[in-house]
Symmetry: C2
Subunit: 156 residues, 2 copies
């Protein structure tokens, strides 16, 4: 008998499950970034934080969390590690002492140039055509939107 009555040839074999696809792809992307990023002394999550700050400096911890979908319990230690590496500074917002503004140091800004080869390098390793790239981006966006909606509505 079939393991489960799932639509359209789905089975419980991990290779054929979308969740496993995403899991494995996430994994593989991390592996692809790791050697490039270790040259500039960043982890992958730290790199994401830098990208957000390079785009706009001086954001609060909450702003970073909203962009990256990370909680303060993740960001606070991560940012502190980056602060101790001299990439950024943390200081309370003078007009709202609850907020912590994160600003890049010179070293943090300079790292943008040192890491400028990374995106193209990885994009090349992806081996996707521009059309596939756009298609994939669109579907993943739709998938996330569905998941966001399902969470609010409840899955039952």
């Amino acid at each position: 008998m079939a393991d489960d009555n799932l639509p359209g040839g789905m089975s419980l074999r991990p290779e054929s499950m979308l969740c496993f696809d995403i899991y494995a792809t996430h994994h593989a992307i991390g592996q692809a970034y790791q050697p490039l990023l270790s040259e500039v002394g960043l982890t992958y999550p730290q790199y994401l934080v830098m990208i957000v700050l390079w785009d706009r400096d001086g954001q609060s911890v909450g702003d970073l969390g909203a962009r990256l979908d990370l909680a303060s319990s993740t960001l606070t230690p991560l940012i502190k590690r980056m602060e101790s590496q001299g990439l950024l500074e943390r200081k309370r917002d003078s007009s709202d002492e609850r907020k912590v503004r994160v600003t890049l140091t010179n070293a943090g800004r300079e790292l943008k140039q040192k890491a400028s080869h990374v995106p193209a390098c990885v994009a090349r390793a992806f081996g996707l055509s521009m059309e596939e790239f756009v298609q994939l981006h669109g579907m993943l966006g739709k998938l996330r939107a569905s998941l966001r909606n399902a969470r609010v509505t409840g899955t039952a």
Copy 2:
């Protein structure tokens, strides 16, 4: 000036980068599974291990690692936690004492039924048509294959 000269409108904004897409989708899928899996007392990685074992019992730690792309340093403690929960047993292979065979207990086998609603539940939350589902699966597989190949070849 533009941040980087990347093909086809790519920029460093995280929302438009594919790596961020995968990262965020992985994240969102984890969040979708979490409430369903916590009902049956599993984490997401533990669920993946169970899926592999439900498919074929008695695999070695190395077999599980090959299927899930995880190192022994990740799997050993993870499997030990599952053993202490009574889901499986670890015993050395009598014909090759280096290997550790992981076999399900009755409780572990029974959990398959208790968790049988999970895949359809999540698939529903994905909100993708069957066509999109297949397309996405294909592109992610191609992406992983490219990354695997690039890692061997070297990215420079």
